[in-house]
Symmetry: C4
Subunit: 315 residues, 4 copies
Amino acid sequence: MNTLRKRTALLLEGNGEYTKAGHILDIFLITLIMINVIAIVLESIVNLAQTYTYEFLMLEIVSVSIFAIEYGLRLWSCVDRTEYKSMATSNFKRRIKFIFSPLALIDLLAILPTLLMFFIAFDLRFLRVFRLLRVFKLTRYSRAMQLLLQSFRDESSSLMAAFFIMAVVLILASCGIYLIEHDIQPDKFGSIPAAMWWAMATLTTVGYGDVVPVTPLGRFFGGVITLLSMGMVAIPTGLLASSFSEQLRKRRLHFNDAVHERLHNGKLDNEQIEHLETLRIKLGLNKQEANKIIKEQLNARTQYMYCRHCGARQD
Amino acid sequence: MNTLRKRTALLLEGNGEYTKAGHILDIFLITLIMINVIAIVLESIVNLAQTYTYEFLMLEIVSVSIFAIEYGLRLWSCVDRTEYKSMATSNFKRRIKFIFSPLALIDLLAILPTLLMFFIAFDLRFLRVFRLLRVFKLTRYSRAMQLLLQSFRDESSSLMAAFFIMAVVLILASCGIYLIEHDIQPDKFGSIPAAMWWAMATLTTVGYGDVVPVTPLGRFFGGVITLLSMGMVAIPTGLLASSFSEQLRKRRLHFNDAVHERLHNGKLDNEQIEHLETLRIKLGLNKQEANKIIKEQLNARTQYMYCRHCGARQD
Amino acid sequence: MNTLRKRTALLLEGNGEYTKAGHILDIFLITLIMINVIAIVLESIVNLAQTYTYEFLMLEIVSVSIFAIEYGLRLWSCVDRTEYKSMATSNFKRRIKFIFSPLALIDLLAILPTLLMFFIAFDLRFLRVFRLLRVFKLTRYSRAMQLLLQSFRDESSSLMAAFFIMAVVLILASCGIYLIEHDIQPDKFGSIPAAMWWAMATLTTVGYGDVVPVTPLGRFFGGVITLLSMGMVAIPTGLLASSFSEQLRKRRLHFNDAVHERLHNGKLDNEQIEHLETLRIKLGLNKQEANKIIKEQLNARTQYMYCRHCGARQD
Amino acid sequence: MNTLRKRTALLLEGNGEYTKAGHILDIFLITLIMINVIAIVLESIVNLAQTYTYEFLMLEIVSVSIFAIEYGLRLWSCVDRTEYKSMATSNFKRRIKFIFSPLALIDLLAILPTLLMFFIAFDLRFLRVFRLLRVFKLTRYSRAMQLLLQSFRDESSSLMAAFFIMAVVLILASCGIYLIEHDIQPDKFGSIPAAMWWAMATLTTVGYGDVVPVTPLGRFFGGVITLLSMGMVAIPTGLLASSFSEQLRKRRLHFNDAVHERLHNGKLDNEQIEHLETLRIKLGLNKQEANKIIKEQLNARTQYMYCRHCGARQD
């Protein structure tokens, strides 16, 4: 029983040291999630929903069943996952902890709406759309996205500050255009919240054009705001560019250092290669990049007999 | 009396070495400012203003009273602030200097419109909107925003140059479209200033679409300008990205150096940790980042017996 | 015969060590491709197509003949190209390999539609536009573009993740606006796929404005989505900025190292200069840049008698 | 006479070692140029042009006279400018060379239209707008802008490649939308060049919305193109961000090295400070930045007795 649980854990966890079966399972689940999302989107077209009512229902029942089984298996086997195994508590507490982890909550949310619809008499229409949250289940499978989200978290204080500047400019812009234009276009700039619709579309450079100032003064003010919009867009872009650059540098440096250490005697044995491979996946570097770093390090070993910085002999 | 003043200064100053009470006060004031801003925005909706006249008035009176008290206390206690204490002048001159500091001016601006409305018979409507400048009071509380604004100041000459390029392109674009289209659409491109409205919306990629060229030549010229708009947007974004990157690097390097120095004997004592904490807040680094740097430095101490650059033995 | 084939290969290959004749041939072919693309674009204007039917046909026949001859020569001479010469297989296998290389496929695609039109009775109109794929023939001639595409490939996993985030936000945005507005504007937000048109235009900051929310709640939701659009645009820009920065750094470092090695005795002989030149073209560095690096290295040689890092004497 | 010419040259040249009078003259000329540009823009408003005909004419005459005198003085004194003085040719050849330098050509262009209008009977209206080229005269005065333009030149091959990718995508996008929509909206997508108007507005994220696809397939294709637009905008932004970053780093490194060299004995004498000041202006670094670098270098001198890299003693 325990061996089966362990195997299930390994099959479902599969981060880094994929077993082949786990890989196939992942691809199957990703495909299923995507089909679900597409189906829910298409179901909103009245014609299609009426013609294929039965097919949509069948897909939903089958999908939810599979997702429910998946959730059950994850809940059952989670106690054998590496991150929980090390905790010195009972299996029950481990499972409680697992249930409230972000990824498990997403899994629960993916099946809950439909389960509710079956067991409780409830307004179907409203809940149906919530099934779309199923799309978040894909988060689990993308290493690169997790690293991307990491960048957002690293820069959170700067991004909050950028958001705050945006909010201040937004308030002043809508207040200004309200003062200038609310007498001429009372239907469009009748209040500051109404004027915010224009200010938002302008400051983000979306520029719908359904609401625009028409007086010369309003257009002058609007022109100033369009100029400010360039700054507004530049701030988050600049922050993320800087953050991505920093992250990339750090991860490569990290891998580089790891290779440097392991290359001490000039060669990599199998165990070391496996260790580097795990690190590579954790850092989200692609194979070519890792190869290049290792090759460079090997070259550095053989090419430079003397320190590239001070000319001292290198042993 | 003096002790009370000193405590008030510490309570209100609260930069870095927050006392708990100061922290609560800050949160209270931030909340109050936000409520005020939202109230002023909502007050511009005629329905709401008529229904809740009394409530809006009460909120205004209470808020201005609190802000006035805050301003008074800041003015009174400013002589005990660290940056003024070191100045070898009378308390009066310190207070004069404080009154004309940017943050104090903002504080004054936040209460002035309402005070004027109460004491002088004046046009209410116009001033009411100026109360929105209260939003700037929030500047005081965001370290990250001050660092963001620092980037703008650092790049001011480059941004001015970018702005100048923008102005030149703007003038030439509106001049060109005016020449091409002012005969066909005299209501839209009747003069160069009128044509600027189109040029501005295009060059900032806002693109309202309320004014567009219609002749083939005008559209060809417009197409060239849309292409230029990509460059126009790219310049400030690129400048800020480069500047943020540089700032981040510098601040981390600064912290890194500070840690390096203090780690000379391999450990950090309490006083050193407190010093680093103050520096961390001043530099706007988050705790994780600081931790990472310290950990890296500690690793560097223990991991590398030999210089990573020239292989020389490290003591 | 073999000498002729070798010469043809050298003439057509011309990557790095351009012969003068090869250079002229390249310019001729680039010009021809451009004339072709312009002609195909202009041919879509009904007036022009009717007036100049004969001229367009002549240009097409002449161009396709030249491109066919070019393709034939490339196919014939490919066995003498440096990258194929080293392969230890028969000429036939080399040619098969060449046919399925991306650039050769593009060359084939450029002549195929017209050839089909002549030899098989087929719907002319539809194929005519496919001749535009001819524009891809230009890929061969731009080193910088190949390096640009390299950046996209290097960041492919991050860009895929960015695309995935975009897709998730897109689905949620269109789903949200569908829920809010599909009763009020059934013609515009009648289904989630229809709502995607608005969501796409908004999230990419294009903002056509042909479809916009009109209810207060819809506008509030729309405002939130416009704010998110800034993040959506910032991610790929940030990724590419970071990637370009990294690539530039790497290529210059690579060249720098190559110069450093070759400058060991303080001078560059002719052979070394030629080697560096080939490397420079391969790395896509311009001449000025290369010059600057060499000059800096020479200066480093003469200026710094002591290591800039540790002060040790440099031989 | 020669002394006067030398003084005039110094007065007009004024790059770096500004004399006070030269500085005032610069400000006067900048103001005059700006007034001119504003006047020409305002003159396009029919009402204003008719009311203030005389004033506009007077301003034009006065301005052109001043610019003509300026041009004459520059031409006369150019032989004493540092960059021409070193040339071993006659004054005449120096002046010829000066006349064809970009800045001198701009100066000539600024006065030519009006001169032509006075001396030759010519169509006035058309030439009047060309006086706007006068705005380019400002180029001379902005160091930062010259550095910005340098970035464009450095990245010219990459930007050309980006432009080429843009052109290819543009052609394919307009070709695609033409195929899909030209039957349904023949007035808007009637030919590929017409469809380019939509493709251009979309790919640059301007998005006027005057021309949009209406069929489901057209909207799907349009959605794909809006997604591509993010990449199109990201490429030049990324390139410039990377280039600015590189330039900034290089210039600071350059200044840093210069300071490092001059600080060899731990102090800066007056001559060295002046030399660094000239370099600072040439590199376009602001004073604070330069100060920081010098301070850091001084700190590095006193703080680190041991190499920060390998712990070796530093003399």
